[in-house]
Amino acid sequence: MRKLATSMTALATLFIATQAQAEDVEVLHWWTSGGEAAALNVLKGDLESQGIGWQDMPVAGGGGTQAMTVLRARVTAGNPPTAVQMLGFDILDWAKEGALADLNILAGMEGWDAVVPEALQQFAKHDGKWVSAPVNVHSTNWVWANKAVLDELGIAVPTTWDEFVAALEAVKASGKTAIAHGGQAWQDATVFDAVVMSTGGLDFYKSAFIDLDEDALGSDTMKEAFDRMGVIRSYVDDNFSGRDWNLATAMVINGDAAFQMMGDWAKGEFLNAGKVPDQDFLCFRFPGTQEQVTFNADQFAMFAQGPEVGKEQAALATAILSPSFQSAFNVVKGSVPARTDVSNEAFDACGKKGMADLKAAAASGNLVGSMAHGHANPASVKNAIYDVVTAHFNGEYDSAAAVDELVTAVQINK
């Protein structure tokens, strides 16, 4: 694989023959935890072997929002980094500003169109031009469960909402916390994503969150979704507010709680605690969304430095899309490769399941961007929806009021 990647790079550099000498890449990103950084080191090593230095510019915080603030300051100052880790609508917004380099030649040569799922391409292309290199696909509609707790209470993996509620009831009756949840806006919204998908189905999800259709947002189905959020709230312990997601995961790991709804990055916490998928913990799709995958994807966008993409930027993009990096990185990150043709050999049970789900969902049109993670609508709308979901989850108003608020919030911020 590695060989293939390097030979492709050689090819690419042949075609994109810029006069300039390959320079160093300055990379703005927010991957600073051990595993993530280890994976980035693969990239760094690859580039260094081609004589391209890596200037590291990590700014963590707020799932990338901190880095986006820094990016704006850097661009305003006329000093943008060469490559920047980005998510969803941020990429499109910057592409609209005309700030991103066109990667089409490279993409055409390496056949990105054929291997990257269509739904993901929507966030990597602008005006038919590739503007960023996708690294991974996180899916966010997972439920993580402590197998020992489920076995002890005789609970099978729930596949419908009603079964799920019955399972929650059984856990609650046993005196344990049914759902480990962290009360932060993005976590509330992550759950809401899955609940809306499960309640209204794929088309409803799309018209509400992607098309921002006011009828859908104000519908009874949406009210039902809020009601279900209320149900979930009743199975969360009292101290949920403000809890970090990983402390919620720890509750499941320690057997204090049965379930957690969280993206696939939660797997890292289980593995780090020495737990084995399918033996100690279970991963399954949120009941009623078995077919669907709601995703968010990390990508690297290249900031334009001239009319053509820089040699070092092309090398970086090629390295990112290389199957070897896609596999190595995603094994440690918990996500699945952005290209669907990567071998699943190195992945664990949950990773294999994730890859299979992604492939199936991509083929059947069931792969949709996650609202909670900025892949369904722009940041302003997303945060406005957060406000409503969080306020409702914290009991500030009832489901009917929440539906009204939702419509208003989207109106103001659209």
């Binding site: 101290n239 403000g242 302003s380």
Partner: protein, 300 residues
């Protein structure tokens, strides 16, 4: 620079000497004019534009302000700032004064104790916030510990309660700066004429009366300085909220500073963010300008 000017040559050197003080001040004036007032003007202008991700200059009139006042979180933020600001300043001053008076009683190891009271100022809230968050968390912090001691009915879950969470911000903020205020008052106390105190004592004034009538009124300048420092901190409180509650539960602890940051940078609504900044600045001006006015006139 000894003056070489003579009566016969009131030339360049003389004029330079006269202008020197202003010349020395001029870089500061220039800096403040551009980087404070210029930026305020720029923000004011932005608040009337359709800026989203970066500044753009399409004029939209009052639309950003209209939207701003339709956003619930803004109301919450403003109300919170009033509650937080008043409580924070009052409690810090009260606690600072109390500690200063206690420390002013010829305490052994005063320097050591003072350092303990002062050190929180030195720490960044990025992580101190985590320590506070844990400490206030009913599941693992104070409540759990006290219950562990056998007081089963003890509850302290403010940080999880939308109505009370703002007070936990006050607790942590007071922790951070009351030591500094203490130092200011202590300095004020040390500056008070001890003869006056003795005379009053001989007259048989009670200690309470002594402090109320003689000591505290003399601390007025200290109060004023403390007010400036505290008001400035209350308005800028950002790290604190982010680290402690992230604005939650829900939006219960949102403050204007967090609101502004979130709209300008996280939500790509730079126009609304600028509008909130303008309102914030106007509020600050309404409070600070009369204060500055009275202070600066008096000193002449």
């Amino acid at each position: 620079m000894p003056s070489s000017a003579t009566a016969t040559r009131p030339g360049l050197a003389d004029r330079l000497r006269d202008a020197l003080p202003k010349l020395v001040l001029s870089p500061t004036v220039a800096i403040v004019a551009i980087f404070v007032y210029g930026f305020i003007a720029f923000t004011l202008y932005l608040s009337f534009t359709d800026s989203r991700i970066l500044p753009t200059f399409g004029w939209v009139g009052w639309q950003n302000y209209e939207n701003l006042f339709r956003i619930r979180a803004w109301d919450t933020a403003v109300n919170n700032l009033i509650v937080f600001g008043v409580l924070y300043i009052v409690v810090c001053c009260a606690l600072g004064l109390l500690l200063a008076i206690l420390l002013d009683q010829r305490i052994r190891a005063e320097g050591f104790i003072r350092t303990i009271y002062l050190y929180p100022m030195a720490l960044s809230f990025i992580v101190t916030g985590v320590a506070w968050k844990w400490f206030l968390d009913p599941g693992i912090g104070l409540e759990a510990v006290v219950r562990g001691w056998g007081f089963e009915s003890f509850t302290f879950g403010w940080i999880k309660d939308s109505d009370m969470a703002i007070y936990t911000i006050v607790i942590a903020a007071v922790w951070q700066t009351s030591g500094f205020v203490m130092a200011m008052f202590l300095a004020g106390l040390r500056g008070i004429d001890s003869e006056m105190m003795k005379a009053a004592q001989i007259d048989g004034a009670s200690t309470f009366a002594l402090y109320r009538r003689i000591v505290i009124p003399q601390l007025r300048p200290a109060f004023m300085s403390a007010f400036v420092v505290l008001a400035h901190m209350a308005i800028k409180s950002y790290d604190l909220v982010i680290a402690l509650t992230g604005g939650g539960p829900g939006t219960a602890t949102e403050l204007p500073a967090t609101f502004m940051y979130s709209y300008t940078f996280t939500r790509n609504q730079m126009g609304i963010g600028a509008a909130s900044a303008v309102i914030m600045l106007m509020t600050i001006a309404a409070i600070i300008v009369p204060y500055l006015w009275s202070e600066l006139r008096e000193k002449k």
